[in-house]
Point group: C2
Chain length 190, copies 2
């Protein structure tokens, strides 16, 4: 997607440790019009799969997941990283490493909002190692739900996420692919 | 707003400790179409104020703030509760009590995305005691920005938030007002 790629070229910053900082339009400040366009396009790509729910992880997955769900006309559930007091005692919980926190985080979903009849579309901001998305897949599987597709805004192809997801045999779409980056340059794929 | 009120009547649950659980359409599972309508209406109410940025707090403020910002055509910034490694060392930070976590939480904004020329519209899911919103006001003031309005999806009028905000002399709008609730009944205002 040309618009997202242009925005990353203009406003993205490569930090040490292989972190791509997109805090000015995705992760701390959000550009709603850009998120809406990305969500519209992800919804179009996955429209034929008959998803009944979009699943993401708080916090930065919420914006693209919400706009995708809006265009698909279905609800979105975001996995929580701390269990709020409104959640029942019995939950689905898994652990996943957080790239930007440098430690394992919990991903928690209430069984109230993810049942065994659901067809789940997973949407996140990044597809890098695939670890967060695999955590969401495990939560969906724990609920007996069927994952039907996986979408991300930005894929870092050199971190192996697509290969990690391949055994699932699911469609995986990203809005833009970065095939290499350093502090001076970001190189995009097709 | 009739639709939000009907949804609270149907799916809201009053828990002990004065907590209104709206996890099935606002806080864990989100109804994007309802959030979009609420955002559209909040945008209409505040359109004349010339806001340049919407400000909210992660996590549950993100959905209504994003849809409001989308309809106003401006960016949204969400205050973080933990400082990510992508944030500079020097930040704006304040403390606010969290109703659902039962403790104080940090609210953190990077100076990169909130400058002294901004006109800030604060949007959150709840207006209860007003403590989170007052925290966001302090962050905007620390940045030298001007707060021009405050909006919420659900106001609990009996928790004093509107009175706490009154000294600011700002327009305060909520999409629906709850004037009383117990485990058997939720009573709405006009």
């Amino acid at each position: 997607m040309k618009e997202l790629e242009d925005r990353i070229r203009r406003d993205g910053q490569v930090l040490s440790g292989g972190i791509l900082k997109v805090d000015s339009f995705v992760n701390h400040q959000v550009d709603p019009a850009l998120m809406d366009k990305c969500g519209q396009e992800l919804a179009r790509r996955f429209a034929a799969l008959g998803a009944t729910k979009v699943l993401t992880a708080e916090i930065s997955g919420i914006a693209p997941a919400l706009t995708t769900a809006l265009h698909l006309g279905i609800p979105v559930v975001y996995a929580r990283k701390t269990k709020p007091i409104t959640m029942p005692d019995q939950v689905y919980l898994t652990l996943a490493p957080s790239h930007t926190k440098g430690r394992m985080v919990e991903l928690i979903i209430s069984p109230e909002y993810l049942g065994h009849t659901e067809k789940v579309l997973i949407i996140d901001d990044f597809l890098a190692s695939g670890a967060t998305i695999l955590g969401l897949v495990r939560l969906a599987q724990a609920a007996g739900a069927q994952v039907v597709g996986i979408g991300a805004l930005i894929e870092k192809t050199f971190e192996g996420g697509r290969e990690a997801l391949m055994p699932l045999g699911l469609p995986v779409e990203s809005r833009t692919s970065i095939i290499g980056m350093n502090e001076h340059q970001i190189t995009f794929g097709d």
